[in-house]
C-alpha cells in the first residue's frame, strides 16, 4: 500500500522536474528572441533617426535581395516606424512571457520541494 503511494509520488516528482526543465528551455528561447528584437530595435531606431534627418528630396533605396530599389522617403520613414511598433509589440509580448515563465518556475520549484519532503517522510515511515 505504502509502496504504491511512494511510487506514484516519485513519478509525479519526476514529471514535475521535467516540466521545470521544459519551462527553463522556453525561458531561454524567449530570452534569445528578446535579445534579437532588442538588437533590431536599436538598428531601426538608428535608421529612423537618419531618415528623419534627411532632406525631402533625398534618394532612399532599400536592398531587396541583391538589388537596390528606390523608395519614397515618406514611405520609408513610415515603414521603419511600423517596424519599430511591431518590434516593441513583440518585445512586450516576450516580456510578459518571461514574467509568466519566472512565476510558473517558482511555483513548480516550491511544489517540487513540497513533494520531495513528502517523499522523504514516506521513505522514513517505510523504513521504521
Amino acid at each position: 500500500m505504502a509502496d504504491t503511494k511512494l511510487k506514484a509520488l516519485e513519478q509525479s516528482l519526476q514529471a514535475e522536474a521535467e516540466g521545470l526543465k521544459a519551462l527553463e528551455r522556453d525561458g531561454q528561447k524567449a530570452q534569445q528572441a528578446q535579445q534579437q528584437f532588442i538588437q533590431q530595435q536599436n538598428e531601426n531606431q538608428m535608421v529612423l533617426k537618419e531618415l528623419e534627418g534627411l532632406q525631402e528630396d533625398s534618394a532612399v533605396y532599400k536592398l531587396i535581395g541583391p538589388v537596390l530599389i528606390k523608395q519614397d522617403l515618406v514611405e520609408a520613414r513610415s515603414n521603419v516606424k511600423k517596424r519599430l511598433e511591431l518590434i516593441s509589440g513583440e518585445l512586450s509580448r516576450i516580456d510578459s512571457q518571461l514574467k509568466n515563465v519566472a512565476k510558473e518556475g517558482q511555483r513548480k520549484q516550491q511544489q517540487g520541494m513540497k513533494m520531495q519532503q513528502e517523499l522523504q517522510k514516506l521513505q522514513q515511515a517505510n523504513r521504521s
Binding site: 533590431q40 538598428e43 531601426n44 538608428m46 535608421v47 537618419e50 531618415l51 534627411l54 533625398s58 534618394a59 532612399v60 533605396y61 532599400k62 536592398l63 531587396i64 537596390l68 523608395q71 520609408a76 521603419v80 517596424r83
Partner: protein, 152 residues
C-alpha cells in the same frame, strides 16, 4: 542562484565556494565585455576607413581612369562616372544617397558614437576588474586559512 551579490556584502563573510562562483561569473562577464569591445573597435575602424575613402574619392574628377576590384585579386579598368554622390548603408537594408561631405560626416558620427560606447565598456571593465581582484584576494586568504587549519 548566482545573481549579482549586492555591493554591501562583506566578501570576508562569503563562503569560498560562493567566491569561486562569483569569480567565474565575473570572468565570464569580462570575456563578454572584451569581445564586445573588440567588435566595436573593428566597427569603428571600418567606419574610419570608409570615411577616409569618401574623402579621397571626393577629390577625384569624373572621367578619371581607375581599376575596379572585382575580387580581392582581380581588377578591371574603369572610369569614374561621378563622385558627387555616395550611397550610405544606414542599416536595416536601407541606403541613402548623400553628398561626399555628408558621407564623411556620417562616418565620423558613427566613429564617435562607437568611441563613446567603447569608453563606457572600458569603465565597466575596469570596475569589474577591481571587484575581481578583491574577490580573488579574499578567496586566496580564505583558502590559505583553510589549509593552515587542516595542517594544525
Amino acid at each position: 542562484m548566482t545573481s549579482k551579490e549586492p555591493q554591501t556584502v562583506d566578501l570576508k563573510t562569503v563562503e569560498p565556494q560562493q567566491l569561486m562562483g562569483l569569480r567565474d561569473q565575473l570572468e565570464g562577464e569580462m570575456q563578454n565585455l572584451s569581445a564586445s569591445a573588440t567588435a566595436l573597435q573593428s566597427a569603428a575602424g571600418q567606419f574610419g576607413s570608409s570615411g577616409r575613402a569618401i574623402e579621397r574619392l571626393a577629390h577625384q574628377e569624373s572621367g578619371q581612369p581607375m581599376l575596379m576590384p572585382l575580387t580581392s585579386s582581380l581588377y578591371v579598368p574603369a572610369t569614374l562616372d561621378s563622385a558627387s554622390n555616395v550611397l550610405i548603408d544606414i542599416g536595416a537594408s536601407y541606403y541613402v544617397e548623400r553628398s561626399p561631405a555628408d558621407g564623411t560626416d556620417y562616418c565620423k558620427r558613427k566613429v564617435n558614437m562607437l568611441k563613446d560606447q567603447l569608453d563606457q565598456i572600458g569603465q565597466v571593465m575596469r570596475e569589474k576588474q577591481r571587484i575581481m581582484q578583491q574577490v580573488t584576494a579574499v578567496l586566496q586568504q580564505k583558502l590559505a586559512a583553510q589549509q593552515r587549519a587542516q595542517q594544525s
